[in-house]
Assembly symmetry: C2
Homo-oligomer: 159 residues x 2
């Protein structure tokens, strides 16, 4: 193997990366999210190698992030659609956008704005606690082992 697969690690970050961590995958997801969902369109918009695009789409379909849907039988033509699983991955994109806007956009300002349906305002995502709805950032939590944790590897000391 040239690249280590992360899927088998007992870590939700690693497992998420296993699905969309490869180069281009998040950008492909973004394209499909905004309606650029056919092979040729994505290839042209991203200027990605056709070979790699084929591989990524195949992987994302296998992992149920996308569905391949025939929009024409004759000639056979396909488009890619987000599944529920894939749509939830797009939340991740919104958080990436927020960080990129804050730390990499510079003088020019954000390249894209997001208007929230509920309030009609241009805004951005914020992380909040699912229980108390107060802000919940990386600094606001303690990390505990969960039920799916790998058993601690204690070297067996006989004696």
């Amino acid at each position: 193997m040239q690249r280590t697969r992360f899927g088998d690690l007992a870590c939700s970050i690693a497992r998420t990366l296993d699905v969309i961590g490869e180069p281009w995958s998040p950008l492909i997801l973004r394209d499909i999210y905004v309606g650029i969902n056919r092979f040729e369109q994505i290839q042209q918009e991203l200027d990605i190698s056709r070979k790699v695009l084929t591989e990524r789409l195949k992987w994302l379909v296998e992992n149920e992030v996308l569905q391949r849907h025939a929009y024409s039988e004759r000639p056979p033509r396909y488009e890619y659609r987000l599944t529920a699983k894939g749509l939830e991955l797009c939340d991740l994109l919104l958080v990436m956008v927020r960080w990129g806007d804050r730390w990499t956009a510079g003088e020019a300002g954000p390249p894209v704005l997001y208007r929230h349906h509920a309030c009609g305002q241009v805004s951005h995502v914020e992380l909040r606690c699912s229980v108390c709805a107060e802000p919940m950032r990386a600094t606001d939590v303690d990390v505990l082992p969960g039920p799916g944790a790998a058993p601690a590897v204690t070297p067996a000391r006989t004696g």
Copy 2:
């Protein structure tokens, strides 16, 4: 070049990926976030190639996500610390965790739990609008061009 750099694209997702999109980078960030912040520790915990680890740490320091800090002068020994910029990247990790927990954890349940300081409960992050604080997911927004958008490439038609 073998791998396309994303940093020059007028897209905050691409720019974020340029910083932490390479294989291992998010896992390195996670390690440092939880206090595994020395070269040897990270190398052993992730079982990553020393060469790649060196490259990633260098890149993350150059991009001001990490700071290299000498915790001993003689012998020279270093540890890596998150900057403010890097700490905000960890928010992204929390969102990756949430998706991984929901879609890849399976029967065993989440490997790690997060207790929110403010309410003391084990919970997870939720995306909400920075303006109205209502839930703000990928399905809840309209996408508009922003000030930093690349000028539309309209082929110049003279005539």
